[in-house]
């Protein structure tokens, strides 16, 4: 058996439709991960001690367990407790929470990079904790971590095919179904691999650009 180009061309539109779902799920998942991750990082640093500790444990736990299980867990448990989400929404939530744990660690590194003097200067001027975060700490902590967050965006994109496990019609699921119908897995799966490779390489280029732009930020003032 050899690669059938005509067949590959025939299934390409369906696969691209699946890819759109994949990209959408990644984008929305990243929105969840970026916001939830930031909230966790801030609470961990500035919240009450017991809460910071709990968040730290949660992050550790999420990072140590497989996304696939977390995905199944939400998929089966949410309906049992009365939360009815579509498979796609469940998948986005799982991706978001999983990567929020990673993003929180990235944010934390950025926050730790802001010197104590900055916190003290803010306090001496009477800034509230909220104002200190918003005006002083985060504007300095965030730009340097943008490339690292970009890397997790790419990692999340590569994990999005897991959503096929809960019947989301993203690109891998489309490829599998197409393959099962025709008994030809070679073309759909190879095409999916090429799509991912192309997008990942493009994203890596983009992140290198971000690194050049945000790699350093003067903090000595």
């Amino acid at each position: 058996m050899t690669f059938d180009w005509a067949y590959a061309a025939a299934i390409l539109p369906a696969l691209l439709e699946g890819l759109v779902i994949t990209v959408q799920a990644t984008a929305l998942g990243m929105v969840v991960a970026l916001t939830l991750g930031l909230a966790m990082a801030v609470v961990r640093q500035g919240g009450p001690r017991w809460l910071g500790w709990s968040v730290g444990q949660f992050i550790e736990f999420v990072r140590s367990t497989p996304l696939l299980i977390q995905l199944y867990f939400l998929f089966y448990v949410l309906p049992e407790i009365g939360v009815a989400l579509s498979p796609l929404a469940t998948g986005i939530l799982a991706l978001g929470v999983h990567y929020a744990a990673y993003c929180a660690e990235v944010y934390r590194a950025g926050i730790n990079g802001v010197s104590r003097g900055q916190w003290e200067a803010a306090a001496s001027l009477g800034f509230s904790p909220w104002q200190t975060w918003r005006r002083v700490v985060l504007p300095q902590a965030l730009p340097p971590v943008i490339p690292a967050l970009g890397n997790y965006l790419v990692a999340m994109f590569k994990d999005t095919p897991l959503l096929s496990a809960i019947t989301v019609m993203e690109v891998l699921q489309v490829a599998k179904i197409t393959g099962a119908e025709s008994f030809r897995y070679l073309e759909p799966l190879t095409l999916v691999g090429v799509m991912f490779l192309a997008l990942s390489l493009a994203a890596a280029q983009l992140i290198r650009g971000l690194e050049r732009r945000f790699g350093r930020l003067g903090r000595a003032a």
Binding site: I69, L197, S200
Partner: protein, 221 residues
């Protein structure tokens, strides 16, 4: 509670397969990481190019797509590996690609002065690498290697999707039979978590062992 404990032996059976795949894939990944990591920087052009292609392809697509491709598409090209071998091979190749970058980065971080010192003592390129540079870089490789090992452990959950009855697969079967979703998945999450903690602990010991009686050599502390 007694019932959930009754499920434990079945799950532990699954855990055994999970750990088997993890260990075998880790060994393969270690070899691949060192060979590809060194080849990319120090081998003659065609070999370096081959190593780079391997690394980019396996980092640029995702583990699940690779598993599916090797399991569903490769047999159509006449190569039938079976689920277990496919799992070990693909996860090993995947982790090895990430590991190669760790090896490359750590060796690149050894100061040039160390190369020069070795050369001045009459070592050739290979001798300098083996006796002087690599031993220093090895220490810096341990923490990221620990993270990769945990990623590998988490990735083994994917093998449930190519019919292997690992921990995740058994959780799925048990859930379908008993419908006690919450207990099963929490138990499974905890098992993965403990296995991850075990890896972290072991890597910590390895790091201390390698660091014993030595400052960071030429590496910045």
């Amino acid at each position: 509670m007694t019932d959930s404990l009754a499920m434990l032996p079945l799950l532990l059976e699954g855990l055994r397969l999970t750990l088997q795949i993890t260990v075998l894939a880790a060994v393969l990944a270690l070899v691949l990481a060192i060979v590809a990591g060194l080849a990319r920087s120090y081998a003659p052009r065609p070999l370096a190019w081959l190593a780079a292609t391997y690394v980019e392809i396996f980092r640029g697509t995702s583990a699940l797509i690779q598993l599916f491709w090797f399991f569903f598409a490769l047999p159509l090209l006449g190569v039938e590996l079976g689920a277990f071998v496919t799992a070990v091979l693909v996860l090993g190749l995947n982790s090895g690609a990430y590991g190669a970058e760790v090896v490359r980065g750590a060796i690149g971080a050894v100061p040039r002065g160390q190369w020069e010192a070795a050369t001045s003592l009459g070592y050739g390129r290979l001798g300098a690498l083996r006796r002087v540079v690599f031993p220093q870089a090895a220490l810096a490789m341990v923490p990221p290697a620990g993270n990769l090992a945990i990623e590998l452990l988490k990735n083994t959950a994917l093998v449930s999707m190519i019919t292997l009855s690992d921990l995740t697969f058994r959780a799925q079967i048990l859930r379908a039979e008993t419908l006690r979703t919450v207990e099963i998945f929490i138990l499974v999450l905890v098992l993965y978590y403990l296995a991850a903690r075990f890896i972290t602990h072991g890597m910590g010991r390895l790091e201390r062992h390698l660091a014993r009686g030595r400052d960071h050599g030429g590496l910045a502390p």
